[in-house]
């Protein structure tokens, strides 16, 4: 019985020490060498002077959801109803990801009541500068060229 206790104790303490060492090594390595993407999630007011007139009738709000490098979101006019906004939250229309220090989001922008088309495809690329997003957006159905934009966090 005594030998079993000793064996048990050695095994038990050995396991705990081993796990402690492994955890501290992993923790040190991770904290020093692993880099996660910057936090970008939130709502931003989009400003782009060269946007088509129909898109300038009311401010556009870009909402980004983030899970690490993977992004999702939606772009809505600030004039949409609360119900439309809630529906968009349930089913984001943009997907994208962080690539190095730049992010990309593409998909559809809908509920554009002032434009001839209610839904447009869109691609946004940019970088994060503290609480501001800067970059270019493409709306192939309206503009042939990319348009510069900036967006401030709400």
């Amino acid at each position: 019985m005594k030998s079993f206790n000793l064996k048990f104790l050695i095994f038990y303490i050995g396991s705990v020490v081993l796990v402690g060492l492994l955890f501290s090594s992993i923790s040190t390595y991770g904290n020093n060498y692993l880099k996660a993407p910057a936090r970008i999630s939130g709502s931003y007011r989009l400003e782009a002077p060269n946007l088509a007139t129909c898109l300038q009738s009311s401010p556009l709000i870009l909402t980004i959801g983030q899970s690490g490098k993977y992004l999702s979101g939606f772009l809505l006019s600030s004039e949409v109803t609360a119900q439309q906004s809630r529906s968009a939250e349930k089913r984001p229309t943009l997907t994208g990801e962080w690539e190095e220090d730049r992010w990309i989001l593409s998909g559809l922008v809908s509920e554009l009541n002032s434009c001839p088309q209610n839904t447009l495809s869109i691609e946004l690329r940019g970088y994060l500068n503290e609480k501001q997003l800067r970059g270019q957006l493409n709306l192939p159905e309206i503009n042939s060229k990319a348009i510069d934009f900036s967006a401030n966090k709400l």
Binding site: G30, L34, A36, S67, G68, A82, Q83, K90, T95
Partner: protein
């Protein structure tokens, strides 16, 4: 619409759906918790929000979600109090050395695996605002949990709570639960302070509080037990005091910097384990918490689970990796430690799967992680799927590795190896107080009242169906108490009957079952019963007297069944058998002949239906043979009379005035149809003046007479 109305409508939908889906999963032999988690996910963006975003947004608007959160947090606090309350120290005393090793190694190995996985997942699924150490601690904790309440339920449901394996699993899970909660507390402390060093004051305060609450538990709380013993009941005043204590303790741990749930859990752990007090407190608390508040917690979790985020093959691959690491880590840790303790391969493997049950506990940890932003929505979704998968596989793996043995071997007292009964009657007993006649008819069918030894056995079967996954009655100790109580009731019932003293004739079986009808049919088949004799009852929600569980057993049992309608006539001297040749009437006649042979005082009248313009109906060929083989002493007690089919039932009813027991096949002629014994089932059963035995034949080859002829 006012917010309170909106929240109440949400709660209505949540409770309804979680019950519905939960019941569906119960039918798949899965814990209710899986159904409840799935119901929550269905209500969220993964399904409801995906197919009808406008409706989902209208029913679950963002401004009401915080109210759901408050309800779910209150539910969680009291649920954790219940977990602590039901964590009886006696679960931690058995095979302590092995259990301690198994529980801790089964946490350490998946924790290591989780930490290694963090190296891959952190750059992909986390962001720079999250401290890597906190992320790793959380992921490791999520990988290493075992849900004690769900595990206890699975063990109880499989009647393993008294086996060495079951006790070891329970003890390991109980000890592991304590360790895992403190690992989680450490993770929260590190997350909130963003470093290991910063968490030291929180850890110190936590230790001080633990010491304090243990001191309170040792000095003040036993007085609660004394007070309860004196009053004999849990008064509302005392209940209010205890609930206030739960809230105060929860607030203190939140203030310390860990989480509300730990305070509630700690108070539950240090509560005096007075059996009566614990039972009454648990029963009073759990009804509202488990049926109302906990489904809200599942719905709240489901609303945040977005399976749609897994929108790339690589993310599904990561999800599979998370599941694999969690499962393999837990399995290997448990298996290795169990082998080190000298446990066999099979038992070590079973333990490995049992300890993989994560269920609700995992969901609690994940919600805390998500609320602290230490895990992202995508990782949250992956870990919810992992919790579902690992809990889901436990029951099938257990069934595969530990197939159920015939119930006779599991629960009956040892009988001599040479004793192999030739005739077995299973008698499901729902209410021991009112089924004396049922036992007596089964005994009369099984055994002669002379001293001839026939090697027949009657098995009164009482199955205890547990209601909720985490209810107090599901705890192994309480289940054992319920079994002992029911066993005593059955013994009392047997003692009140006039049954010849024969230790082997009646062998009661009392055990836990998930589904009474299904388990009865299973036991009958597995234990090679010749006949099931059931009492009848009227189901609460149907007019069909042979519906409900009786109907289910009639439809599913792969054994001949007889349903007994008791008119409180204890002597069976005059038997009546209405007869038209078909398999069910043949069974009725067989049973009547068996009774006639067993009891020399029995007189049997066979009412044979004679149709006009058709050859005279005869007994079937097989029965003519049997009648030929009957001894003269039996033959002379049998009378065969003819009746006309025009009003067969009326004639049978009239004849039953002179009978003590009528035995009819489940056939249309008597208004007793085979399929459900449904539409016309009442006819003869309702009008018959004598007791009635309705026979339903399943097996064409079973003979109920071979053992007596």
């Amino acid at each position: 619409m006012e917010i309170v109305i909106q929240v109440l409508i949400q709660v209505l939908i949540v409770i309804g759906l979680s019950r519905l889906v939960g019941l569906g999963f119960r039918r798949l032999n899965q814990p209710l918790v899986i159904g409840e988690i799935v119901a929550g996910i269905l209500l969220g963006p993964s399904l409801f929000g995906l197919i009808a975003p406008d409706v989902a947004a209208a029913i679950f608007p963002a401004e009401t979600i915080s109210y759901l959160n408050v309800l779910s947090q209150i539910g969680l606090i009291f649920f954790m109090f219940l977990i602590g309350l039901e964590l009886d120290p006696k679960y931690m005393k058995n095979q302590l050395e092995s259990a301690l090793l198994i529980s801790h190694v089964s946490i350490l190995v998946p924790f290591c695996f989780g930490s290694l996985l963090a190296l891959l997942l952190y750059p992909l699924l986390s962001d720079a605002s999250v401290n890597f150490t906190a992320f790793t601690l959380f992921l490791g904790s999520a990988m290493s949990l075992t849900a004690f309440p769900v595990l206890a339920r699975i063990i109880t449901e499989n009647n393993l709570q008294k086996s060495r394996l079951g006790i070891l699993a329970l003890t390991s899970a109980a000890l592991g639960d304590l360790a895992a909660w403190w690992l989680l507390a450490l993770s929260i402390a590190v997350t909130r302070t963003n470093s290991m060093a910063g968490a030291i004051p929180t850890i110190f305060k936590s230790l001080v509080y633990i010491a304090l609450i243990i001191a309170v538990g040792r000095t003040f709380l036993p007085k609660l037990s004394t007070f309860y013993n004196r009053t004999g009941r849990l008064t509302q005043f005392l209940l209010a005091l205890i609930y206030m204590g739960v809230v105060v303790s929860a607030l203190i741990t939140e203030w310390i910097g860990i989480h509300l749930i730990f305070g509630a859990f700690l108070l539950g752990v240090v509560m005096p384990k007075n059996e009566g007090l614990t039972r009454e407190l648990a029963q009073k608390t759990e009804d509202f918490v488990l049926t109302f508040l906990l489904p809200v917690f599942f719905a709240y979790s489901g609303l945040k689970t977005e399976i749609g985020l897994l929108n790339r093959p690589e993310l599904w691959l990561l999800c599979v990796l998370v599941i694999a690491v969690a499962t393999i880590g837990k399995y290997l840790g448990t298996f290795g430690a169990a082998k080190f303790c000298g446990i066999s391969n099979r038992d070590a493997s079973i333990l490995g799967w049992l300890m993989n049950t994560r269920g609700l506990t995992e969901l609690i940890v994940l919600n805390i992680g998500l609320s602290l932003n230490v895990i992202s929505p995508l990782l949250f979704t992956m870990l919810v799927i992992m919790a579902l998968v690992t809990t889901f596989i436990t029951s099938p793996m257990l069934a595969w590795l530990y197939p159920k043995q015939p119930i006779k071997k599991q629960v009956l007292k040892a009988t001599p190896a040479s004793f192999e009964p030739k005739y077995r009657v299973l008698v499901p007993i729902a209410n021991p107080e009112s089924q004396k006649g049922l036992i007596e008819i089964a005994v009369a069918l099984a055994q002669a009242n002379s001293k001839v030894q026939q090697n027949a056995v009657v098995y009164p079967l009482s199955l205890i169906q547990l209601e909720e996954d985490y209810a107090f009655e599901s705890t192994p100790a309480e289940a054992n108490r319920l079994i002992a109580q029911r066993k005593a009731e059955i013994d009392l019932l047997i003692n009140t009957t006039e049954i010849p003293a024969n230790s082997q004739l009646i062998q009661p079986i009392v055990t836990i079952a998930n589904d009474v009808a299904k388990e009865t049919a299973l036991i009958a088949e597995r234990d090679r019963m010749n006949l099931i004799v059931l009492g009848w009852h009227r189901p609460a929600f149907s007019n069909n007297r042979l519906g409900g569980r009786v109907g289910q057993i009639l439809s599913t049992a792969k054994v001949d069944v007889a349903v007994f309608v008791d008119r409180q006539i204890s002597k069976w001297e005059n038997l009546l058998v209405p007869y038209v040749p078909n398999i069910h009437n043949d069974l009725g006649l067989e049973l009547a002949l068996r009774l006639t042979i067993n009891r020399q005082e029995c007189q049997l009248t066979v009412l044979r239906v004679v149709r006009e313009n058709l050859p005279t109906e005869e007994l079937s060929y097989e029965f003519k043979n049997i009648m030929d083989r009957l001894p003269a002493s039996v033959k002379e007690r049998i009378t065969i009379a003819n009746i006309h089919p025009s009003d067969g039932i009326a004639e049978v009813v009239e004849a039953s005035r002179c009978a003590d027991l009528t035995i009819a096949g489940a056939s249309r002629e008597w208004g007793l149809e085979r399929q459900t014994l449904g539409g016309y089932a009442d006819e003869l059963a309702f009008k018959c003046h004598s007791s009635l035995l309705i026979a339903r034949k399943y097996s064409q080859v079973t003979s109920h007479l071979s053992s007596v002829l």
